[in-house]
């Protein structure tokens, strides 16, 4: 079956630095794929390459049978990909509600449904984006991705900088979303969180794919984990 997302041998440069030196990965519809690796391995750059914030100079990204080459970032988003960035990127000058209103598109996840699922976000709907705690920002960032009704969500380090109890809530939420059949590509430093969510894993090191396979096999692959993840 043709995967929903197919990243094929992409080459991405930041300035003159050759950051991604041929990264490939696939996500079938309904699947959660974890993208793992140390700091600087190229995980965030891979997500930013898919969104064409840093467009790859070589290789190919296919989404739902469509070649994303030549699209602007907003067009990639409209094709059905949402991006939850590292550190959330909530607009500080907008209220919580406005953060959602400007992202709202399509049918399924409406504002009302999001507020039902995220009571903590709902309680803050009239607050400014700058007034939220880290956990609330993360919830809002995920809610904001959902109201765009994407077919694929790219999540960059959803647990970063959050207290363990909040991380648990986020994990619960993401498991719920997974159960609805939403496809996700997850970049995560927390190995435990990644393993709890992912069906498959891709290990990056120095801009290349070092390993890929079923998430459960990665638990057993001690040498790969030691060499490229340090866990």
């Amino acid at each position: 079956m043709e995967p929903l997302l197919r990243v094929d041998d992409i080459q991405t440069y930041l300035g003159e630095s050759h950051i991604l030196q041929g990264v490939s990965l696939e996500a079938q519809a309904g699947e959660v794929v974890a993208l793992l690796g140390r700091n600087g391995a190229g995980k965030t750059t891979t997500l930013r390459s898919i969104m064409r914030i840093t467009p790859p100079r070589g290789g190919k990204v296919m989404f739902d049978g469509q070649d994303l080459a030549g699209l602007k970032t907003h067009a990639v988003a409209r094709a059905g990909i949402a991006f939850v960035q590292e550190q959330r990127a909530i607009f500080p000058s907008l209220t919580v509600e406005e953060n959602l209103i400007i992202a709202q598109r399509g049918e399924g996840w409406t504002m009302e449904r999001v507020f039902d699922e995220f009571p903590r976000v709902a309680a803050r709907r009239r607050n400014g984006g700058a007034q939220l705690s880290g956990g609330e920002q993360q919830m809002l960032a995920i809610a904001r991705a959902l109201v765009a009704n994407p077919r694929l969500i790219l999540l960059d380090e959803p647990s970063e900088g959050l207290a363990p109890i909040i991380v648990e809530q986020i994990l619960e939420l993401l498991l719920k979303l997974k159960a609805t059949g939403l496809t996700m590509v997850l970049v995560e430093q927390s190995f435990a969180l990644a393993m709890a969510l992912a069906d498959r894993a891709v290990v990056l090191g120095k801009g290349r794919v070092r390993w890929s396979g079923a998430a459960q096999e990665l638990r057993a692959a001690d040498d790969i984990r030691h060499a490229w993840l340090g866990v």
Partner: protein, 295 residues
């Protein structure tokens, strides 16, 4: 001098009137800079061009009101064409390239208007309906100048509602906060920016028309005002409506009262206000980005 209440009220009204002109120019410059990081010094050229257009339209048709209706629209169209045909070529090349190019546009605009209209300053007569004076707190004050103040206040109100209370305004604020993140949410920031640029140029054009009967129409009117407008933007903070309003009032009052209190050092007052503001609030008094959340 200032103990004379009549004089004081007059000067306050003069300050308000000048603040409104600064505001109409500052808001476009500020949001364009805040959103696209583009320093468009030729913003003042649009102001000047619109004043000349108003002179021509009012001269030919005999109607100030027709000039008020048409000149800002024409100015906006010219401003947008200028941006897409020329200015945007250096968007990615940093402020220095932007300054060089837009200063070039200032010279070009000045020379073109000089060739077309000659060196002598032109006047635009005050419309009949706004001739004479009205009483404000017992002080006689020209009706036309009160009209300028009203236009400024109405514009502030409309912009406040649009920017702070509508989805469109939220899109603009999102673009100023973090353009890339807005793009990742499916918002075509280039399109939003085109609208913002057009409105900014329209308001600069509006300022040109309403300033013409009071300050006259002459080549160089753009440069003298754009420096003050830059100071307004710097003091107020980039990309924010509240910042543009506060900055305009500070400079409008500092300029007017500086000329009265320290006639020989009028500019000193303005730079003093700027220096003080920057010492205590380096990113401006009310910048749009209250903190940066992106990684």
């Amino acid at each position: 001098m200032l103990s004379d209440p009549t004089f004081l009220i007059e000067q306050i009204l003069n300050s308000l009137q000048f603040s409104m002109l600064l505001f109409l120019l500052a808001i476009g410059l500020s949001v364009v800079f805040g959103m696209m990081d583009y320093l468009n010094l030729s913003h003042g050229t649009i102001y000047m061009l619109s004043a000349y257009l108003a002179y021509s339209i009012a001269g030919i048709s005999g109607s100030y009101w027709l000039a008020l209706l048409c000149a800002p629209v024409a100015a906006a169209l010219i401003g947008v064409s200028l941006y897409y045909l020329l200015l945007q070529r250096v968007t990615q090349h940093g402020h220095l390239a932007q300054v060089l190019l837009t200063v070039g546009v200032i010279y070009f605009g000045t020379e073109m208007l000089r060739i077309l209209y000659g060196d002598l300053p032109k006047g635009v007569p005050v419309p009949a309906a706004l001739e004479g004076v009205a009483r404000v707190l017992g002080v006689a004050y020209p009706k036309y100048r009160l009209f300028i103040i009203s236009v400024g206040l109405v514009t502030m109100g409309v912009l406040y509602v649009v920017l702070e209370r509508t989805r469109l305004g939220a899109l603009v604020r999102a673009g100023v906060d973090d353009r890339v993140t807005a793009e990742t949410m499916g918002i075509d920031i280039a399109k939003v920016f085109a609208g913002v640029f057009a409105i900014g140029a329209y308001l600069a054009g509006l300022a040109g028309v309403i300033a013409a009967p009071v300050f006259g129409v002459y080549t160089g009117m753009d440069v003298s005002v754009i420096i003050l407008v830059l100071i307004v933007v710097v003091i107020g903070g980039l990309g924010s409506l509240a910042g543009a309003i506060v900055g305009s009032f500070l400079i409008g009052f500092a300029d007017t009262f500086g000329k009265i209190l320290l006639p020989e050092f009028a500019m000193v007052m303005i730079y003093l206000v700027m220096a003080l503001a920057l010492v205590f609030r380096p990113s401006g008094l009310m910048p749009a980005r209250r903190f940066m959340a992106q990684g």
